[in-house]
Symmetry: C2
Subunit: 209 residues, 2 copies
Amino acid sequence: MAGYVSDAVIRRLPGYYRHLRELEAAGVTSISSQELGKRMQLTPSQIRQDINCFGGFGRQGYGYNVSELKGHIGEILGLDRLHRMIILGAGSIGTAVAHYPTFSREGFKTIAMFDVATDKIGTRMNDIPVLPMEELEKFLSENHVDIAVLALPAAYAQETMNRLYEGGVRAVWNFAPTDLNHPEDMIAVNVHLSDSLQILSYRIAHRGE
Amino acid sequence: MAGYVSDAVIRRLPGYYRHLRELEAAGVTSISSQELGKRMQLTPSQIRQDINCFGGFGRQGYGYNVSELKGHIGEILGLDRLHRMIILGAGSIGTAVAHYPTFSREGFKTIAMFDVATDKIGTRMNDIPVLPMEELEKFLSENHVDIAVLALPAAYAQETMNRLYEGGVRAVWNFAPTDLNHPEDMIAVNVHLSDSLQILSYRIAHRGE
């Protein structure tokens, strides 16, 4: 990447990747900043600025090569690497993550799920084994894990995150509706579903203001 | 609300609500901007600014009344109203939304789910009936729906959103991994799970930079 990249640009990266993947699938080989901006509801100059920021893909007047740009943004996002994931909690959120169709295509491979429910332990979900939560430490000592998905009730999330940290995991994707305390060298990204629904509710309540 | 509220403040509102709910549940009746800032990883002055922006709850030196502030923010978020929801798609994401424990407590009541799979139609999920997708128009003509949850493959999302709009629905919570085109009077909030996981992957790839 060319120097400092702002959080706002980082947040837009997956959107670029998604639109370029859709364009590639539709057989589009080249796209102008005008056309891409229209799709993404950004101005052409914003598009050019962002793409320059990703590392100088500027070829104004000719359009951007869709596959090349997609590949480049995929690398920046780390999608050219394999990420080994585990899912903590085999409830409905954990199950949804285990079945999500695009994750494995993008290099996110779930190698195990953990739960405390005896009727789930020993089964497989989308071919992923469900192991007893008490075997977490043993599993982490024998397997390298890049990302742990927290799909547990809020009350168990912090304690489980601490166990993951002790076991060497340094990145957590948290679905529990709580903010976790974590050491600085632990990366945590939250998906707070309730927050998102409340933003929708806010927009409904303040419609037309 | 006191005048213009920025998008950044709106995005923080659910976080305030969540922390205040946790504090209330823990029996805390009053909290200072220092303590709340520490929990939320914001500066005390940011907290005071935000809360002034919500409508002048400033009582510096005494701390904020937790229940009062939570109630006030809940009203701003529209959580004092009942929202009638339907879920399009009874796959793993739709199922997770149907079972999410806090939505009904916050006034989001799912009244029906729709799917095309004959083995799902006629069943109930968390006591919510699963209806055939072809009955969507009939259902919308007979029932008021505030929010439609799109939990469908990307390929069906746009077409379904058009049908919802035709049927009078004006707010969509979209889990399909695609950006929808919608008229200006349709509110759409996206949960792009893949984008969130890619942000985590970005942070792993650029750790320590």
